[in-house]
């Protein structure tokens, strides 16, 4: 490859300042400054086995958290990677799973119960007790008013159609089963998960 004059000039000018560092005999200083590799950040982090929350490959993940679960160390998740023992993913993760730490710590995570009053343009923070009491009251009012005990033919149908429930599909089985019990016991028929959508 031929060296053009312009390239030569550029190299010369830059070389003036920068090449001096090594050539002036500061190799020893450099040695002293030489850093090793970045320390391995998981060395004593706590490892917990979990499953990726996204698709139904449900890859096994190792969740690493700060602290050793001792009394005065608050666990905070610092890293997620694939579980090498898991037969399906064998340690691998996709772009979603590999970035799932960002879901755990997303600035858009909800932290407190919030309440939006009709016609207003904001959410206001409320207590859990207020929220749950309010929901139970709203449910009972609507159910008591609109519960259908018998259909037009006089058949006992015991259904409640004016309230619906969209259920999550990343809940645990246990949360799902309790949700089923809770919803079904009220007579709600408008009940749907994420299987179709």
């Amino acid at each position: 490859m031929a060296v053009t004059r312009r390239q030569f000039m550029t190299v010369s000018a830059a070389g003036l300042a920068a090449s001096s560092v090594g050539a002036l005999g500061f190799v020893g200083a450099g040695d002293a400054l030489a850093a090793g590799v970045r320390p391995f950040k998981l060395e004593r982090a706590t490892e917990t086995r979990n499953a990726c929350p996204y698709c139904a490959v449900a890859c096994g993940v190792l969740v690493y958290s700060l602290g050793d679960k001792s009394k005065n160390a608050k666990s905070s998740i610092i890293h997620v990677e694939g579980d090498p023992d898991h037969p399906v993913n064998r340690g691998t993760l996709c772009a979603r799973g590999a970035a799932s730490l960002g879901y755990i710590h997303s600035a858009n995570r909800l932290k407190y119960p919030m309440h939006r009053k009709p016609g207003t343009d904001k959410f206001e923070r409320v207590s859990w007790d207020f929220a749950m009491e309010r929901i139970a009251k709203l449910m009972k009012e609507d159910r008591d008013k609109n519960f259908i005990a018998k259909n037009r033919d006089g058949v006992t149908v015991n259904r409640w159609l004016s309230t619906g429930f969209f259920g999550g599909s990343s809940l645990s089985n246990e949360a799902g089963y309790l949700t089923y019990k809770f919803v079904r016991s009220t007579g709600i028929l408008g009940f749907e998960d994420q299987a179709r959508i």
Partner: protein
């Protein structure tokens, strides 16, 4: 999945159609690359777009969205007319030889029994077998009778010639035939094909029939129950399999039992059609045990309040008159027929089609409760986000309560993956702020409601007040305790029917198998298919033994696979009628002279000899799989191509019945379908590898990897519309219009449909006005509010649009 993620490595041929596994399920797709690298397997991808799955395929073929049945029926025609079927398998294990009733017919797009006024097959009585005097189905083992199911199938698919397939689907004939030849190579006993599909098949007005078509192909090829075979639904959410098993659905109860309906006034009415007597001599018809599962479930739900005298609390369950699925609920909301709504981890504002209709519905609610780990468009539907959500908060009277749920890694419990394997996960840290787990939230709500009804009474309090919630810590039930309840246990000592002196299980002991469930109230169990997951030996979902003794990827001691820890369903069919493996290479479960053996749990008792044993398809009354579906499908016993509701062409097979004739169309949506004169481009929606649904736009790194909504279109269309790569364009449908940046690509291949050029464009679903990705118009503005005739899955995958150049959105897309 009938098989499992790991089993894919055993295959010789992968057909990805109706899905995009590389992009939506990359870590499951790994087993495709393993099959390719280590088993010499080939990969075929059929998709409207050249996807990331296609990027590593051996053969790719384009197809017009919504025409899969035409393609698959064409494959069936090829296999049948070239005798590329697994003859012995088809004869032994399918209903090919069964004789269908005389009245059954198919003419001009309609099967027998159509009622034009009700838009339904009101009379499906002819969609069945001829029965003999004993009530057994008649068969002709010689297959000579023209009314044999396989002969009717041959006649039905005869119209799907390669020329007709090309005309409807746009798939070039040569590519189609190349794919047929490749598929046909798996009709031999020692080769299998696996089918991997997802929402690309379900989200059509013919969704269930798309999948049925593939099941039929796999049966013709003898690929069901075989290693490396099967029909594999790649489920979406991490526990959508478990949640569906648990029936967070309108008309089901856990374990695929069915909720009573209005015609079943009494328990006796309900149980009568569920006797499920065998239709062939010596068959088992496993659903005969339905009552045992149902009664055990009622005992789990209502405990001592469910007695024989009150028909096991039959009236505590609501009865349905129609399906209240997502589309129905949105329609009711928009009509002002609903007051309250819960959204638990489901962003309905983006998830349901026709965003304008969803918005109208949400604004008519009196109250809504959103339980979610993240901010969602649903919780903030009343908030003005410029042209992306142009609303006036003052005019929206819906009261909203938003509850922070803990998420992944912040709770423990079990979940069921797409392979039906139930696996436990452990908690790593607390959630942020005051967030609570879904278990705590639901428990709190139930207990408050229970207390209110116990104190004040009200409309039919019994099912709420009597619902069992006897956990050690009722407000914080331990997931392990809940899983035990789901598994089930003996309520009283269970004597051995064969030896009354012997006790099979003591009262209080966990059930090792659903075979021990009883219809007399002596057992309890919330979901029969999960029985065996938590036994006296411990929590099987916690098992982490990664040994694989056969090398076939069975992992029998990793978690627990329902049912009965069976990893490949219908595995009896991997051996011939005498119990011998069809081939040494595909040996899986076989009869060794004294018992069924192999690496997996066989379909039934391992000591029953093949000549005494029932057919492999034990859930069917005839013990065989069905090429002819009987009356199980509302839109026909054979699949038929119908155009999507936004029909691009008049159906060349029967122009008078262009679309699926039994699709449910709400009155409010009667005028919501587009026509090709106004909307001449076929659109489809899809997922990207970088995002998961509407969640990951809230994750910084995922927003980095795919920051903004775009629309993919081929070079031919872009040129015709003078659109350059990166231009802002407007995409419009009969439902509305959105803006997106153009992605002009060679990966949408120019196709010809019905003799004319057909342009296709595609839109990823992931964007909205909440999150770190660039704000965008939700793409569900464009999609029609109509669903599959069988199960009402919305038709997200095929609709008509137009596209033109436009200006950037009024509010600049700044994060």
């Amino acid at each position: 999945m009938t098989n499992s993620w790991n089993d894919i490595k055993n295959t010789d041929l992968v057909l990805i159609m109706g899905g995009n596994a590389a992009e939506a399920h990359p870590c499951g797709f790994k087993w495709v690359t393993e099959a390719k690298a280590n088993n010499g397997a080939k990969l075929i991808v059929v998709d409207p777009r050249f996807t990331r799955s296609a990027a590593v395929a051996d053969v790719y073929a384009p197809i017009r969205p919504g025409t899969d049945i035409a393609f698959l029926a064409g494959v069936m025609r090829y296999l049948l007319s070239n005798n590329k079927i697994h003859q012995e398998y088809v004869k032994a294990f399918t209903n090919a030889a069964f004789i269908v009733k005389e009245g059954f017919a198919f003419n001009d797009g309609l099967f027998a029994g159509f009622d034009a006024d009700r838009k339904a097959y009101a009379d499906r009585s002819t969609w069945d077998y001829e029965l003999d005097e004993q009530g057994m189905a008649k068969v002709d083992e010689t297959l000579q009778n023209p009314r044999c199911a396989i002969n009717l199938l041959k006649a039905h698919v005869e119209r799907y010639t390669p020329e007709m397939v090309e005309r409807i689907t746009g798939t070039p004939k040569a590519k189609f035939l190349q794919i047929c030849e490749m598929i046909a190579t798996t009709s031999v006993p020692d080769r299998t094909m696996t089918s991997m599909y997802a929402l690309g098949w379900t989200q059509h007005t013919t969704g269930a029939q798309n999948i049925r078509s593939m099941a039929m192909i796999q049966l013709l090829l003898g690929n069901m129950g075989m290693p490396g075979g099967g029909v594999n639904a790649l489920r979406g959410h991490s526990n959508v399999q478990g949640i569906t098993d648990l029936a967070l659905l309108s008309t089901s109860t856990p374990g695929y039992l069915v909720l009573p309906n209005d015609r079943e006034a009494t328990y006796a009415d309900y149980m009568k059609p569920r006797a499920f007597k065998p239709l062939r001599p010596g068959q088992t018809s496993y659903w005969q045990n339905y009552e045992k599962f149902f009664v055990s479930q009622q005992k789990a739900l209502f405990g001592t309040a469910a007695t024989k005298d009150n028909d096991w609390a039959y009236d505590y369950l609501p009865k349905f008159d129609t399906s209240y699925d997502v589309l129905k609920m949105v329609d009711m909301m928009a009509a002002g027929q609903m007051n309250g709504l819960f959204c638990q981890g489901l962003n309905i504002m983006l998830a349901s089609p026709d965003k304008t209709k969803v918005m109208t519905g949400l604004a008519k609610l009196k109250w809504m409760v959103v339980i979610d780990p993240l901010e969602t468009e649903t919780a903030r539907f009343w908030e003005n986000h410029g042209e992306f959500n142009n609303v006036d908060p003052k005019s929206i009277q819906t009261e909203i309560i938003q509850l922070p749920a803990s998420a992944y890694a912040e709770e423990e419990g079990s979940a069921t993956n797409s392979s039906r394997v139930i696996m436990w996960h452990w908690k790593a840290a607390d959630g942020p702020g005051e967030s609570r787990s879904d278990i705590e939230i639901v428990s709190d709500l139930h207990l408050r409601l229970k207390a209110l009804y116990a104190k004040d009474g009200g409309a039919f309090p019994d099912p709420i007040v009597k619902l069992t919630w006897n956990y050690t810590r009722p407000r914080h039930p331990d997931p392990a305790e809940v899983l035990k309840e789901m598994n089930g246990y003996a309520l009283e000592d269970l004597p051995d029917p064969a030896d009354p002196g012997k006790v099979l299980l003591r009262a209080g002991q966990l059930l090792p198998s659903f075979a021990l469930m009883r219809a007399d109230g002596k057992t309890s169990g919330g979901i029969w298919i999960y029985t065996g997951v938590y036994t006296e030996a411990g929590n099987m979902s916690m098992r982490r033994d990664a040994s694989d003794p056969t090398g076939l990827g069975i992992y029998p001691k990793w978690g627990f696979s329902w049912p009965a820890n069976r990893r490949v369903l219908y595995n009896r069919a991997s051996a011939d009628p005498s119990g011998k493996p069809w081939s040494e290479r595909k040996k899986y479960v076989w009869w060794n002279g004294s018992r069924w053996t192999g690496g997996d749990v066989p379909d039934y008792a391992p000591t029953v000899a093949p000549d005494k044993a029932v057919g492999p398809f034990i859930m069917n009354q005839e013990g065989t799989a069905r090429l002819f579906a009987r009356a199980a499908m509302p839109d026909g016993p054979f699949p038929e191509h119908y155009e999507p509701m936004d029909a691009y062409i008049a159906n060349p097979l029967h122009p008078k019945v262009s679309t699926n004739p039994v699709v449910r169309v709400f009155a409010a949506d009667a005028k919501s379908f587009g026509t090709p004169d106004k909307f001449p481009i076929v659109a489809t929606s899809y997922r990207l590898a970088e995002h998961f649904h509407y969640w990951t736009k809230n994750v910084h790194d995922n927003a980095v990897l795919q920051p903004e909504l775009f629309v993919e279109m081929g070079e031919r269309l872009a040129k015709a519309k003078d659109i350059q790569n990166g231009d802002w364009v407007e995409i419009s449908s009969q439902r509305g219009a959105i803006k997106a940046k153009a992605c002009v690509t060679k990966r949408i291949r120019p196709i010809m449909v019905d003799g004319k050029p057909c342009d296709v464009l595609g839109l990823p679903i992931h964007y909205g006005f909440i999150g770190f990705a660039r704000k965008a118009h939700p793409m569900n503005v464009l999609t029609p509010s109509v669903g599959d005739a069988s199960v009402n899955t919305p038709e997200y995958k095929a609709f008509l649009v137009d596209v033109k150049k436009t200006t950037p959105p009024a509010q600049p897309a700044v994060a």
